[in-house]
């Protein structure tokens, strides 16, 4: 039961949000976002301890004696708790960076938005540890429904409402595909737990239905991850949703779906026929996703759309780590490290965007011209996050990318093998991404501003930016302990 403290905290934070929604006044919102955020960071520490505990003998003993309702549905392994840390950090940072936006841009329903984010983070955490199909399904649906609700929060805005509707319809369709796949898997094997499915499909005679089912499930996950060609919703929704929501959507559902993807496919489908199918789909999916994301991002004129395409590209990088889960011991470490790095750098970048749009009301790229003179803190923060997102050292983005390359090479790449060329494409992609990330930085530093009004940074979002900066830097400077902890924790329990 103690394992569920992180999830419990998140649900509690959400429930409190609904209670205080009765009479939201400014001080209450401030107190809620602050206390909620701090609770999340505190919970992250607890979850980190649980992750450590799971790697010890004591943890193994606890897992062995855990009650049935836990062991049936959730994997009590280190990775699931590492992912709980991630969910709590995402939730905490989103709370901090939302405060100013809610105060300045939204008239009502402010605590509800934060509450839904907390529920979504709980779904994230559940999805990261789910080990059987029903839990996976409900977690992913919880996450999705929260996403639909969050995207529809600014329904007054026509574009926003349209994007929310698009998100809802496409999301439901992809869920249907996934459910179709899940039911086939269950029908063929009669098992719900991933390990059971693996055991039931060990022999021959399964035929082509299993790979079909696996690929159908991949469609559902691909939608949440925004893998090409299931990425269409992404730019519209990111542009239309409130910026803090966009920040959350670009991180939460994507990472949770990637973690679940890695767990489901490496645990349930390690056998030849199905494996060839999903690895093949993921190979091309990763390659096309990263390239399309980066190339299309260059042409955007709205910073939220640009970051939407950039997040598609990052999904492509992480799919490479998922692709090699069965082939390399480093793959899960790479995925976890990149996930942490991505949380800090992407939320950091979105925090800058939120902070800017709170004061100026604009997301157009040209309005960022000359920001370095108007707000040096925001401009330098953006420059830093841009470099991290490109994957330049000494930042967490570099470490994550290096780990992904290492994992992929470790997976048995040889000269002229497809994996070799995938890696070449990957590194060239990070060079392409420089063009648009630094293009924005160039606007901030090299172009004259339209006017000289300063852009003040609010306390909450400023703190969020500071935390993200610290996170990206510390992951490299204190790499020994931090990476060591993540790497120790990036383990699936196969029981």
């Amino acid at each position: 039961m103690v394992y569920l403290i992180p999830e419990f905290l998140l649900v509690l934070v959400g429930a409190v949000g609904l209670v205080i929604a009765f009479a939201p006044s400014r001080p209450r919102l401030r107190a809620y976002s602050l206390v909620g955020g701090l609770t999340c960071f505190g919970g992250a520490v607890v979850a980190g301890y649980l992750a450590y505990l799971a790697t010890t003998d004591l943890g193994a003993e606890l897992a062995a004696t855990a009650p049935g309702y836990l062991t049936t549905t959730l994997a009590l392994d280190p990775f699931s708790r590492v992912f709980a840390v991630l969910s709590l950090i995402v939730c905490g940072l989103t709370f901090l960076l939302s405060k100013e936006y809610l105060e300045t841009r939204m008239q009502d329903h402010q605590p509800e938005l934060l509450a839904v984010i907390a529920f979504a983070a709980a779904g994230m955490s559940f999805l990261g540890s789910a080990r059987e199909l029903i839990t996976i399904w409900f977690s992913i649906e919880l996450l999705s429904v929260c996403g639909y609700v969050l995207a529809a929060f600014t329904k007054d805005d026509e574009r926003s409402a349209e994007a929310a509707l698009k998100y809802f319809i496409l999301g439901t369709a992809s869920s249907a595909f996934m459910l179709f796949g899940l039911s086939y898997v269950y029908g063929m094997t009669g098992r719900l737990d991933l390990v059971g499915i693996m055991e039931a499909t060990a022999g021959d005679g399964i035929g082509v239905l299993l790979p079909t089912a696996a690929v159908l499930m991949l469609v559902g996950f691909g939608f949440k991850v925004a893998m090409v060609p299931f990425h269409m919703w992404c730019p519209d929704v990111y542009e239309g949703a409130p910026t803090p929501v966009t920040a959350f959507l670009s991180v939460g559902p994507k990472l949770a779906a990637l973690a679940a993807l890695a767990r489901v496919f490496s645990t349930a489908f390690p056998h030849e026929v199905a494996r060839v199918a999903w690895e093949g789909v993921l190979f091309w999916g990763a390659l096309i996703t990263m390239t399309l994301g980066n190339v299309v991002a260059i042409k955007q004129s709205n910073i939220k759309r640009m970051l939407a395409y950039s997040s598609i590209a990052h999904a492509g990088y992480m799919l490479v780590a998922v692709l090699v889960t069965l082939r390399s011991d480093l793959a899960l470490s790479a995925l976890a490290i990149y996930a942490f790095a991505y949380v800090f750098m992407n939320l950091g970048a979105f925090a800058v965007v939120t902070s800017f749009s709170n004061r100026t009301g604009s997301d157009a790229l040209h309005s960022y011209n000359g920001l370095a003179r108007r707000s040096p803190y925001l401009a330098w923060a953006w420059a830093f996050f841009a470099l991290t997102l490109v994957g330049l050292p000494p930042t967490a983005g570099f470490l994550g990318k290096a780990y992904i390359i290492m994992a992929a090479w470790d997976a048995g790449a040889t000269w002229n093998s497809p994996m070799f060329w995938l890696l070449v494409v990957l590194v060239l992609n990070s060079a392409i991404s420089l063009a648009y990330y630094m293009g924005v930085a160039g606007r901030m530093f090299f172009k004259p501003p339209a006017h000289d009004d300063p852009v003040p940074v609010g306390g909450g979002v400023g703190t969020a930016i500071g935390l993200c900066l610290a996170g990206t830097l510390l992951m490299v400077l204190a790499a020994g302990p931090i990476i060591g902890a993540i790497q120790n924790g990036a383990v699936f329990a196969l029981h």
């Binding site: 429930a15 209670v19 509800e112 839990t135 429904v145 009669g190």
Partner: protein
């Protein structure tokens, strides 16, 4: 008799499904969908899977169609009028649908044939369709056991966590429905009645 009932249900379902995608009036589509889903529930009962039948009624006929109704309301808000379905992509949609059907039939029949061989090799006396039925429906147990009685403890004991996740899910869906369904003109100071009861449910999870 069973065959008769089967066709009695299957034919209307198909007709209604066609109506769902062809009718220009979106509310009519929603109603047709509702009826088709009820028909599918009937099929489940026919296959002696009452739980699935009830689920089908509760979740799809009940929940999902309501969601669709909300979606329709959202659309109405955006455009100010009922949306007419686009039929420009009917041709491609038909092709893709047929293709999917053919592939599934091919794979399914291949799978069935494989099972037949397997069954023949094992000298099984049961017809394959029964094996398949056992695999697809929650009747991996002797028939005398009441599936409902068997099902409920499993749901709230072993699968209590997904059960609770589902409760949070419904809570969020409710918040969403209230938010989206709120008329724009009215400005409310905050949440009204709706957060009250879900809050308790959320804390229980």
């Amino acid at each position: 008799m069973e065959t008769l009932v089967f066709f009695g249900l299957a034919v209307p379902i198909l007709v209604l499904a066609v109506v769902v995608v062809t009718t220009p009036h979106i509310l009519r589509a929603v109603v047709s969908l509702f009826l088709a889903l009820v028909g599918v529930a009937g099929l489940f009962f026919l296959m002696r899977a009452p739980i699935l039948g009830v689920m089908q009624l509760m979740i799809y006929a009940g929940g999902v169609v309501v969601l669709f109704a909300f979606a329709v309301m959202l659309v109405r808000r955006v455009t100010g009028e009922f949306v007419r379905q686009q039929t420009g992509l009917a041709g491609p949609a038909l092709v893709v649908g047929l293709l999917f059907f053919v592939v599934l039939m091919g794979i399914g029949s291949g799978y069935l044939a494989g099972l037949e061989d397997e069954a023949a090799a094992a000298g099984s006396v049961h017809p394959v369709s029964r094996d398949l039925a056992e695999r697809l429906v929650l009747t991996d147990v002797p028939e005398e056991i009441d599936p409902v009685e068997d099902f409920s403890p499993v749901m709230i004991r072993d699968y209590v966590i997904p059960f609770e996740i589902a409760s949070i899910l419904l809570l969020v869906a409710m918040i969403g429905a209230v938010l989206v369904g709120h008329p724009l003109e009215q400005k409310h100071p905050g949440g009204e009645i709706e957060p009250e009861e879900p809050a308790e449910e959320g804390e229980g999870a």
